[in-house]
């Protein structure tokens, strides 16, 4: 049942050391503010699940929050490498990182299977490549009707899903529009959830009859964090800050400059810092 709360209470209540956590958002609506709060609260030994690790996981890996990463594409989209992720895999810094690597199709299917209450996902995939050789969780099953060999992997059942959305109403019903990614599936597959939103409104605005709504009884903590996806974007609120994604390449390349940036912009700040990005970009768009 949805509870409208603050970000620090939501993360303290839902995300614990050692949890399996899925922060989702496919380029759009990436929960940056929630990621920063997890780092500020010093969570450790997390197993992070995410299709596209992106900057949020680069930051958590570099800050030593992560034991294991379950993923399908770990880069800075259109820019290049995630340097903290690479440093962890290539050099074990700040400590060794276990990886469980999949394809996008597998990850999407595993979230859907988790949301469906199934133990595994079955799909046509992983044919001929080397990923099944390095990931023991990729198996083959035979269709009992046609004899076709298909891929099977365990469904995703995270302890907690963390997502960002445009709006929630005061009961905690959540509305998501635009590039939807796997957020709905991630929330429905998880035991607990934290949903940050651009705004909490008296009534959800006029919308298409099929706009994605997560009913309040399917979500846990709901928190208003304007700008909470920045430098990712919130369709209808502010655009993706592509120049920040480019700037991150230099910030994260070096361990010291990474730490300096994290101290100034994350450790010494709070969730309200995100509102300025939203306002600034909203003004620029008008």
């Amino acid at each position: 049942m949805a509870r409208i709360t603050t970000l620090s209470e939501a993360i303290a209540g839902a995300v614990h050391d050692g949890d399996t956590v899925a922060l989702e958002g496919f380029t759009h609506l990436i929960p940056h503010a929630a990621c920063h709060e997890i780092i500020r609260q010093g969570r450790k030994d997390l197993t992070l699940v995410r299709m596209t690790p992106d900057l949020v996981y680069d930051q958590m890996i570099g800050m030593g929050c992560v034991k294991k990463l379950v993923f399908s594409w770990g880069g800075n989209p259109g820019v290049g490498s995630l340097h903290r992720f690479r440093d962890a895999v290539e050099n074990g810094w700040p400590h060794k990182l276990e990886i469980e690597e999949h394809s996008h199709a597998a990850m999407a299917n595993a979230y859907e299977a988790g949301a469906s209450g199934l133990p595994c996902a079955i799909f046509r995939g992983y044919i001929g490549g080397d990923l099944p050789k390095v990931n023991a969780k990729i198996k083959r099953v035979t269709c009992p009707f046609t004899g076709e060999e298909l891929a099977a992997i365990p469904s995703h059942r995270p302890d907690v899903a963390v997502i960002h959305a445009q709006r929630a109403d005061r009961a905690g019903n959540v509305m998501i529009e635009g590039v939807l990614g796997v957020q709905k599936e991630a929330v429905l597959a998880s035991k607990r959830s934290v949903v940050t939103v651009e705004e909490i409104v008296d009534e959800l605005p006029e919308r298409s009859l099929n706009a994605v709504v997560l009913p309040h009884w399917t979500v846990g903590h709901v928190v208003e964090v304007p700008g909470g996806a920045f430098p990712s974007y919130a369709q209808g609120y502010y655009p993706r800050n592509n120049s920040f994604y480019k700037a991150w390449d230099d910030i994260a390349k070096d361990r010291d400059s990474f730490h300096a940036w994290m101290k100034t912009n994350v450790l010494d700040k709070g969730p309200d810092t995100f509102a300025q990005y939203a306002r600034k970009h909203k003004a620029a768009a008008e």
Binding site: G75, G128, D130, V179, R240, N242
Partner: protein, 256 residues
């Protein structure tokens, strides 16, 4: 002859491969530039699909990421990522998949995972993303990659997504019914699979490029088709549209 860069020739040659009625799954970077150039020149009705779920999108600037708002704003509809991979890709609705990679071998298998051993990589690359299933579920695959000895290698460090596997009928023997890579467009030439061996073979050489140059930038002994064409030079219109697209894109990305 118009003055142009080898990468411009590559993008333009790749764009020419696409037809107006194609339904195309687009990767970010070079594939995205080629697909949108095709849409803005000879293939205005082409259906471009990005894995973020945007169907029939018509971006005015190239997206930096696979899910920029621009793609959603200009799409016919946007579906969830599980739906994209299950109904549209696995369902066999996509005719052409357009891929790039860090390493390619002579059978057009691709590596985007690691350089060096998987457990102790010299370079950890982003990984497969959508490629492993795009490579087997799309009707055919076009690959666009600049040539060099470090990327055109005799043996891949890791097979992220398959092309023609070990050549001959080895792809079919895995139970895959789609054609696999039918075109490989580089900054020097165009390759296509040999009918029998399935080895990627040079069928067209870009203007001013020599066979020696192609060999010097390839990590295996290159085969040339019995009859090799010269790729037509970029037209003024192709170059104008491509340069304007890149200029618009750079302005938009600097502003945001």
């Amino acid at each position: 002859m118009a003055d142009y860069k080898p990468t411009e020739m590559m993008t333009i040659a790749a764009a020419r491969m696409l037809k107006n009625d194609d339904i195309c799954f687009v990767g970010i970077g070079q594939p995205s530039a080629a697909c949108n150039l095709a849409r803005l020149t000879h293939a205005p009705d082409i259906t471009l699909i990005y894995e973020s779920g945007t169907l029939a999108t018509k971006p005015t600037v190239l997206p930096l990421s696979i899910g920029d708002g621009e793609l959603c704003d200009t799409a016919l509809t946007t579906v969830s990522v599980p739906e994209m991979f299950r109904y549209w890709l696995q369902g066999g609705r996509i005719k052409v998949g357009f891929l790039g990679g860090a390493q390619i071998d002579k059978f057009a298998n691709l590596n985007t995972t690691v350089v060096g051993p998987y457990d102790k990589p010299k370079v950890r690359l982003p990984g497969g993303g959508g490629a492993p299933e795009i490579a087997t579920s799309c009707g055919e695959i076009f690959i666009i990659m600049a040539q060099g000895k470090r990327s055109f290698v005799d043996k891949l460090d890791f097979v992220t997504s398959i092309g023609h596997v070990a050549g001959g009928d080895s792809r079919q023997k895995l139970g895959v019914k789609t054609k696999g890579p039918t075109k490989l467009i580089t900054d020097l030439a165009i390759f296509a699979p040999d009918a029998q061996t399935k080895e990627m073979t040079v069928v067209s050489i870009h203007p001013g490029v020599t066979r020696e140059q192609i060999q010097e930038n390839t990590g295996w002994p290159v085969k040339f088709a019995a009859s090799v064409d010269e790729t037509p030079v970029p037209t003024a219109k192709e170059l104008d549209v491509l340069r304007e697209l890149h200029a618009r894109t750079n302005r938009a990305h600097a502003a945001a």
